[in-house]
């Protein structure tokens, strides 16, 4: 049995203490919030400490931090399972109560079972879920190619129609800020693609001038993207990172408890 320090500590922190916590929480409600905060403290601290303390038990290949990442991957798999259970519960309820749009729930469940079934079949039969050696798609890949991909592409492509309509109806130079935004958007839209060359297509004499103007506009667009936009984006990213760091500290210290899902007074 491998009794490495990091491994044993992880088992104590994230397996034994939670189990003990569950039993204690049943008897003493006050402990229901303390044990998860304790676990959150160590789950947050270990990856941070591994950055600064180059010790094998923390940041080595089988250290605590990489092992936590491994566990996180497994947890993510279970999160998918939770999602499936949630879809099943909601759809079954909708169908049984004949709520509005219940036939769509039947389609959703059919899609879930057929696609999932093909996936499980691929795994059990050894055919996989990709493309066979002879180039033919497996049933799962067939579902992806001819159902899932066209459906998702169709939904997303509707955005182009709504954006064009919204731009026509709402993108107006009502005040100074809106005018600046409108001019910047117009310049970027013209500079990113050869609109001037397209407009000059019917008149060959204008082609060289259009090409030259298009290049100039392209350079202006690139400057806007690199300099004012780049500076603004840096500010936003740094601000968001500071916000995320402060939120992480709040969670680690147990100040932020919303994620525990506790009721009032717990």
């Amino acid at each position: 049995m491998n009794l490495e320090f990091g491994r044993v500590t992880l088992v104590i922190l994230f397996a034994l203490i939670p189990i003990v916590g569950i039993f204690l929480g049943m008897r003493a409600p006050a402990l229901r919030s303390r044990i998860p905060i304790f676990i959150g403290l160590f789950a947050g601290l270990i990856p941070i400490l591994s950055m600064y303390i180059p010790k094998r038990f923390l940041s080595g290949e089988t250290g605590m931090s990489p092992r936590l990442d491994q566990w996180l991957i497994i947890l993510a798999g279970f999160a998918l399972l939770l999602g499936i259970v949630n879809v099943l519960q909601n759809s079954m309820r909708k169908i049984s109560r004949r709520e509005s749009g219940w036939p769509f729930s039947i389609v959703l469940l059919l899609g879930l079972f057929v696609t999932g079934g093909f996936g499980i079949y691929g795994a059990l039969s050894g055919h996989g879920i990709g493309i066979a050696a002879d180039g033919t798609p497996t049933p799962f890949q067939y579902m992806t190619n001819w159902f899932f991909q066209p459906l998702q592409s169709t939904i997303f492509s509707l955005l182009a129609f709504f954006m064009a309509s919204a731009a026509f109806r709402a993108f107006r130079a009502r005040n100074t800020e809106a005018t600046i935004l409108l001019i910047a958007a117009g310049l970027i839209m013209m500079g990113r693609v050869p609109v001037l060359e397209l407009l000059a297509l019917p008149i060959p004499a204008l082609h060289p001038a259009a090409a030259s103007a298009s290049q100039g506009l392209g350079k202006l667009t690139e400057w806007i993207m690199k300099t004012p936009n780049g500076a603004a984006q840096s500010g936003i990213i740094i601000g968001a990172a500071l916000g995320a760091a402060s939120m992480a500290i709040r969670v680690i210290l147990g100040i932020e408890r919303g994620y525990l899902g506790l009721g009032k007074g717990e």
């Binding site: 947890l75 996989g128 731009a167 026509f168 397209l198 840096s234």
Partner: protein
Amino acid sequence: MADIFERLLHLDRRWIFLFVLLSVVAPILVPIGLPVDMTAPTRLAFDFIESLKEGDVVLISFDYGPSSAPENDPMVEAIMRHCALKKLRFVVCVLYPLGGLGLANNVVAKITREFPDLRYGVDYVNLGFKDGASAVMRRMGDDIAGAFPTDVNGKPLSQIPIMKDVHDLRQVKLVFTAATGIIGEWWITQVHPQVGTPVIIGPTAVGAPKYYAFLNSGQIVGMLGGMKGAAEFEKLLRDRYPRMETFYKTTRAFTATKGNDAQTVLHAVILLFLLLGNIAFFRHRRASARA
């Protein structure tokens, strides 16, 4: 005349939808062949891949789904073609849960049909999908087999020749992520600073402005911004490799160069709508003020 603008203000949006549809479909059916101007981020990306040596390993991560496939597919295809032409080996992985794996399977199959000399397991490998994006990336930084114990077909990585030279991301010379959301950013913020592997990102056009900040700070070595970036990369490939000139001219498949035509016409149509909408708005406002 005034009546026309007044009517424009109340134009049925189905007319706008019709114009959008025509401006996208027509250039794809009948390509115009508009020129593609080069931008620095794409040039940087191309030059970086050109600087790699034969046999170097590139990791290509599919971090997008079918919703943005027309923008992202041409990028990964162009990058894979570049790898095949430069004789770079590539490792494919998928971290986007909504259909990323299906797209990866199709793109890999398409490229291997174009380059029949590519040998699976020797020149390239498809690791498949793994959920938990940021944790998977960090795990790959320490041990790729720790995150992906097998390839997409269930074969252990220890039995795949290409993976014998690639234990973790430190042996990978470049990460290319074609991304539609936050996953691409995690390669830059979580993998690059900890492992040091250079990153090139291929975001959608909507996401591209954000990555200029990372480009300015040197955290990425290049970027293919949206379909335009992909079209630029295709142009660079055509200029550098004569074989690609013939390919892109003759292929019946969708390419970013063809998409560039549709995008240009659509931009022109939207700009026209913007102009007309604003003229109608100002005329209406002036008329209201007079009244």
